[in-house]
């Protein structure tokens, strides 16, 4: 199918993926605006994480198109999608435990990404400034020299968010960023998210409806690989179909 050019940052159209006949995502279409915070909710197995996997190229689509700033992503390799400006945070914190917080951020700094670029990479002023800037933002500036292994669960989540921020992606995708966090960490994260979502579009997967209402511009409810409802958090909460799916679950 030939998708038309749009003003949307992300345009997903007719997206389908089937694993041995099981359609985890089924003819899904949605659009994300510039600077929009979109939250995807839905019961377990609804296909939320699969949608993120499809966008970032980890899973290949069976059918349909994903266009990011009018560039087709379904044909691109993972690292090309990242370089195009899509950042993705995994559900469990994915950081490099044997490296320090500083080195974790430094590796994510978008320069010297080829083999010889990495050999020639120098830790210059620009890198130092950027790393300390990001470290400040993610509440880790005191811990730059600490091995990432030794961080708490919440700090690891922040570090991974920071590793994405240093790449300054235009589209940021976060898979359950506050899962397993303490109440105070949750509050700090909400504040962090509000700050970092300026000037970029964000897709968040989240269960906690209170948290969703707090951050979302628009909510998409997925159920069995299809969109069940879409709208503001308030509208979605009142939607009888959504209530049925959640209560029936």
């Amino acid at each position: 199918m030939s998708a038309s050019n749009t003003d949307f940052v992300l345009a997903v159209e007719g997206l389908t993926v089937s694993f041995d006949g099981f359609k985890a995502v089924n003819d899904l279409s949605f659009y994300v605006d510039k600077n929009e915070i979109r939250v995807i909710v839905g019961p377990n197995g609804a296909g939320k994480t699969t949608v993120l996997d499809l966008i970032c190229g980890r899973t290949k689509a069976t059918e349909g198109s994903i266009r990011f700033r009018n560039r087709e992503l379904t044909k691109m390799k993972e690292h090309q999608i990242v370089r195009a400006g899509v950042g993705r945070k995994f559900q469990t914190p994915s950081i490099y435990g044997d490296l320090t917080v500083f080195e974790n951020l430094e590796i994510s700094f978008p320069r010297g990404r080829s083999v010889f670029g990495a050999l020639a990479f120098k830790r210059d002023e620009e890198v130092m400034t950027r790393v300390s800037e990001i470290a400040d933002m993610i509440f880790l500036s005191e811990l730059l020299g600490t091995r990432a292994d030794l961080l708490s669960h919440g700090q690891k989540q922040w570090l991974e968010i920071g590793m994405l921020l240093i790449q300054d992606p235009e589209l940021l995708m976060l898979d359950e960023p506050v899962a397993g966090m303490s109440v105070s960490e949750r509050r700090q994260t909400a504040e962090l998210l509000r700050r970092i979502t300026k000037d970029r579009s964000v897709i968040v997967i989240e269960h906690d409806m209170q948290f969703v209402a707090e951050i979302a511009d628009k909510v998409t409810v997925l159920h069995q690989g299809k969109i069940l409802a879409e709208g503001s958090a308030e509208e979605v909460k009142k939607n009888p179909k959504v209530i049925e799916v959640y209560l029936g679950h």
Binding site: H79, Y96, I107, R113
Partner: protein, 385 residues
């Protein structure tokens, strides 16, 4: 290179271990051993090239290759082919039915030199081929495996299969390769007899020199961002991929580098031992090389050298007295390393040796009235071991 550049490449503790190793290999061993024993050490050191490559591939990158003997062998055979051609001059081989070709070809009824032997008349070509042929071969294996995301145990098994295949090929193609005997009776290098004591001394020092060149290259790689990326890939490959890196390229690079090191080792082996045979290509030597690396400490490039020396020295002295028990001892050693000190000799040194040594040096400096300040304070970047 500027002073600060040198400092960041070789910080105080690394400089110390490079220095101690250089002292041992360049001064202490040549002065205290006769040429027969020194030549043995030289032979062991050729394995250290392989172990060094394994530190980068396996220790840093998490890519376990059980087929490094392949690259050691390719380098060694390339060198041996040159030496064999020189030893097979028409005058030397006048009694053969076809003079001028290596003796084993004549025994196998070959009447002319195979085409792929021809360029090995040139020393320049041979030196290039020693590094290039194994690297290109590693590149092909690397592209075929890593681009398809074959890794871990599967990669190890495939490299092992490659080692087995190459051994079988060499043994089976006796007329072209010398078969199970290998390429023997090597005599001169550009007319210079390699069997004299003088030549053995020369090759020992050449081997040490090349080992240090490789050690410095390895040090540069591990100190660069590429070194940190390898660690990152070993731990969380997906995160590296989703940070915009083409992970397979980095694996291919480090695998090729390790292979080039192994090949240089192989060539130095041929020069010092005077022959090359399929025994050094197959599965058993390839696994032994992994053990050298593990005993030395798979995260330490200097440790790899000591590991190789210690295991081989033990092997020689042990098998002189109890030849049948050696393999059991080797197995026990490997188990002991894995269970008791997973970071090998380097881990033990890091824990007990280095703090002591640094304290002594600081004391000496203070005694001389020097400042003895800590040149190693790096702030945010810590040494990992």
């Amino acid at each position: 290179m500027s002073y600060t550049g040198l400092r960041s490449l070789l910080p105080k503790n690394d400089l110390l271990s490079f220095g101690v190793l250089a002292l041992l290999l360049v001064v202490i061993l040549p002065l205290s051993l006769d040429i027969f024993r020194l030549n043995l050490i030289g032979k062991y050191l050729t394995y250290a090239f392989v172990a060094l490559g394994l530190v980068l591939c396996w220790g840093y990158g998490g890519i376990l290759s059980l087929g490094q003997g392949v690259f050691f062998g390719l380098g060694g055979y390339a060198m041996a082919m040159f030496l064999k051609l020189e030893a097979s001059s028409p005058e030397n081989t006048a009694i053969q039915s076809t003079p001028g070709i290596p003796d084993f070809m004549d025994w196998n009824q070959l009447t002319e030199l195979p085409w792929f032997w021809e360029p090995f008349h040139s020393l320049g070509f041979t030196i290039i081929a020693i590094v290039l042929v194994p690297s290109v071969f590693a590149y092909i294996i690397g592209v075929a495996m890593f681009k398809r995301r074959v890794g871990g145990v599967y990669f190890a098994i495939i490299t092992q299969a490659v080692a087995a295949i190459l051994t079988i090929l060499i043994i089976g193609q006796q007329g072209y390769t010398g078969g199970v005997n290998g390429i023997t009776d090597l005599r001169t290098l550009n007319g210079w007899d390699i069997r004299t004591d003088g030549a053995k001394y020369f090759f020992y020092f050449l081997c040490v020199f090349l080992l240090f060149v490789c050690l410095l290259i390895a040090q540069f790689v591990r100190k660069s961002k590429l070194g940190r990326l390898l660690v990152a890939m070993r731990e969380m490959e997906d995160r590296v991929r989703f940070s915009g890196y083409d992970v397979s390229n980095f694996k291919i690079f480090v695998f090729c580098l390790g292979s080039a090191f192994a090949a240089i080792g192989g060539a130095m082996f041929t020069l010092q031992v005077g022959f090359m045979s399929p025994t050094f290509v197959g599965i058993v030597p390839s696994i032994e090389m992994v053990i050298f690396c593990a005993v030395g400490g798979r995260l330490s490039i200097i440790g790899a050298v000591y590991g190789t020396l210690v295991v081989n020295w033990a092997k020689t002295s042990f098998s002189e007295s109890f030849p049948e028990l050696w393999l059991f001892a080797m197995g026990a050693l490997f188990i002991a390393v894995v269970m008791a000190f997973p970071n090998g000799l380097a881990g033990l040194y890091k824990k007990y040796g280095e703090p002591l040594l640094l304290r002594v040096i600081d004391k000496v400096k203070a005694g001389r009235g020097g400042l003895g300040g800590d040149l190693n304070s790096k702030g945010v970047v810590h040494e990992r071991q």
